[in-house]
């Protein structure tokens, strides 16, 4: 799949997969450590260093207040990743609960969950995000709730289908016939199937959650200017584009794209590793 685009083809599938996963993990480690060590410098204003284009000393340049853009970008991407990860994790947990509920708690619950999922998917994603963020009164909390509340339907359907299929599987029926309790069946038969689905679903939610929270922030819902998430940085840079301060937008955007791609690659490769069908390819 994607790994073939980036790695030499003489490596086997498994090596490529593991290499891709390690590179992504190292990338995130570097971002978080660098933001922790260096990110606070982005709050320092030095008015005699205003609007400097990128140089060796300041690879991302400085903004209209003389703040270092590399430091601001690192801090911003850490905030954005944090918001995205929190939202995606909440969303995946909602999906797990609703999916299990729909599959196990009878027809009424099933209908209710299906109806909720249909309603949530019926409105364009971004409009739903704006609506929920408005309902929460904005802020980082609003963004997290909006993203969490709008991304669960796809994973819910996957988990519901998986559990429904398992419930009617022969070995589960057999276990029930042999007198195993529901708790034993859940632990020995459901968990090993649902846990990987949940993990991969969660990982593949990250890119969407990060992109959508950045978009929502860019539109002005959510983070205030003193929380310099990447969407805030880009929205602020809009005002300076016509003055030719291109570096305010280019580098932060590229870092955002690379982070989203990295999560996408991570998710797809973990899926390849966990799926027995592709494990030994």
């Amino acid at each position: 799949m994607t790994t073939r685009l980036f790695f030499p083809s003489q490596w086997d599938r498994r090596t490529r997969t593991l290499a891709a996963i390690s590179i992504c993990l190292v990338f995130f480690a570097v971002i978080f450590i660098a933001a922790w060590l260096y990110g606070d410098q982005g709050q320092v204003t030095e008015l005699d260093l205003r609007k400097l284009p990128p140089s060796w000393e300041r690879p991302f340049g400085t903004d209209w207040l003389g703040r270092d853009m590399l430091a601001r970008t690192l801090k911003g991407i850490r905030i954005s990743l944090g918001v995205g990860l929190t939202a995606a994790t909440c969303s995946a947990c909602i999906a797990l609960l609703l999916g299990l509920g729909a599959a196990l708690l009878g027809r009424t619950v099933d209908r209710l969950v299906t109806w909720l999922a249909d309603a949530a998917l019926a409105t364009p994603h971004l409009v739903l995000l704006i609506l929920i963020s408005f309902a929460c009164g904005g802020g980082a909390r609003g963004v997290i709730i909006a993203v969490a509340a709008s991304h669960w339907p796809a994973l819910t359907r996957i988990i519901r289908a998986e559990v429904l299929q398992l419930r009617s599987a022969d070995y589960v029926k057999l276990a029930r016939q042999l007198g195993k309790g529901p708790y034993w069946i859940a632990r020995r038969h459901l968990l090993p199937h649902v846990a990987p689905q949940f993990l991969v679903g969660l990982l593949l939610l990250f890119p969407h959650a990060i992109l959508h929270s950045a978009g929502l922030t860019f539109l002005g819902f959510g983070m205030p200017p003193h929380t310099p998430a990447i969407g805030v940085l880009l929205a602020e840079s809009m005002r300076y584009l016509s003055m030719g301060l291109w570096w305010l937008a280019v580098a932060p955007g590229l870092i955002l794209i690379v982070s989203v791609l990295a999560f996408d690659v991570l998710g797809n490769n973990v899926r390849a590793l966990l799926d027995p069908k592709t494990l030994r390819e």
Binding site: L5, P124, H125, I130, L219, I257
Partner: protein
């Protein structure tokens, strides 16, 4: 066939009514729980200048003095009559705001929709026909990257290069500032549309490309394609005669089913280019607390997406010979 079609459309209409009712009640609950006070949001910076009596008057005019349930009953009754109330920031009926803004957005969305569909389809065919060739790798790399790229950032880059540095395209709006919409010529309108539409297309290509590529690869490995090759048909011949008709329908369907993404992309692109369409109205309604307009747009966009999905379903039914009479009713 006609009977089936009527039944299909009736079922769909019933579903739409139920869906709109569901979305309307859910979103009304959401906005009425909002801690943002509509009066504060409306008044904005002038908050110090108005007296408590004036505030009370505004609240009364908007019916905010009543309990939520009574407000919902009133709003739902209005909605059933097709009246969405009055927008607080534009001070005119929500339906007319949406109609005006949507027509402006429709230019943008239609252009981007057809261009990205066509380009994405061709790219997908090229990539799929020559699996793992350099062209395939390049196209896939492009599609994966675009899928990870925020729409607004692409818009900003285009704006910077073509409007600020090269000066080829205008910096904002849908027609030259100072003119009214009627005075602008078609050429001027298209000139202003160019960059926003390009932004949406560059992003929109990704999904349709990857989907078409997948279907093309499957078709190229099918028995009929292999048989044609055994008879000495060239790759181009196989693509034109065998693959194309198998791949076209799913692609068109996907394109119709992706109206929601298109709408979301338009919101972001319109924000970057200050394009006065429905997307910008959505953002303004959200930020300045125009509850009637926001609810109206939520309902309108729901109907918009639903229409796209229904057209996709209908196309499958009408075009695909395998969707026979016997399978009617599965939507």
């Amino acid at each position: 066939m006609h009977l089936h079609l009527t039944k299909f459309l009736l079922t769909k209409t019933l579903r739409l009514v139920l869906l709109v009712a569901a979305v309307a009640s859910l979103s009304f609950v959401l906005v009425s729980r909002s801690p943002i006070d509509p009066v504060d949001a409306y008044v904005g910076a002038a908050i110090m200048k108005i007296s408590p009596e004036q505030r009370e008057m505004i609240r009364e005019r908007w019916g905010l003095d009543q309990p939520p349930l009574a407000r919902f009953a009133r709003w739902a009754a209005q909605l059933a009559r097709g009246d969405l109330g009055v927008s607080t920031i534009f001070n005119e009926p929500v339906t007319s705001v949406i109609a005006k803004r949507f027509i402006t957005s429709l230019w943008l969305m239609a252009l981007a929709w057809s261009f990205s569909g066509l380009l994405g389809f061709v790219l997908g065919l090229i990539a799929g026909a020559r699996e793992d060739s350099p062209a395939d790798r390049l196209i896939r790399l492009y599609a994966y990257t675009m899928a990870a790229t925020p729409t607004f950032w692409v818009g900003m880059m285009l704006l910077m290069v073509f409007s600020v540095y090269l000066g080829w395209t205008p910096v904002c709006c849908a027609w030259p500032p100072g003119l009214s919409i009627e005075q602008a010529t078609l050429g001027q309108r298209l000139h202003h549309l160019l960059l926003p539409a390009l932004t949406l297309s560059l992003i929109g290509v990704a999904q349709i490309t990857l989907h078409t590529r997948q279907k093309t690869v499957e078709a190229m490995h099918s028995d009929y394609a292999i048989f044609a090759r055994a008879q000495g048909e060239s790759t181009l011949g196989i693509v034109c005669r065998q693959v194309l008709r198998n791949v076209a329908l799913p692609a068109v369907t996907l394109q119709f089913a992706s109206l929601g993404e298109l709408f979301g992309g338009a919101v972001l692109a319109e924000q970057v280019f200050s394009y006065p369409g429905l997307g910008r109205a959505t953002v303004e309604a959200g930020i300045r607390g125009d509850v009637p307009l926001l609810l109206g747009i939520v309902l309108f966009s729901t109907v918009f997406v639903f229409t796209g999905n229904t057209v996709a379903d209908l196309l499958y039914r009408l075009v695909d010979p395998r969707m026979g009479e016997g399978q009617g009713g599965t939507a």
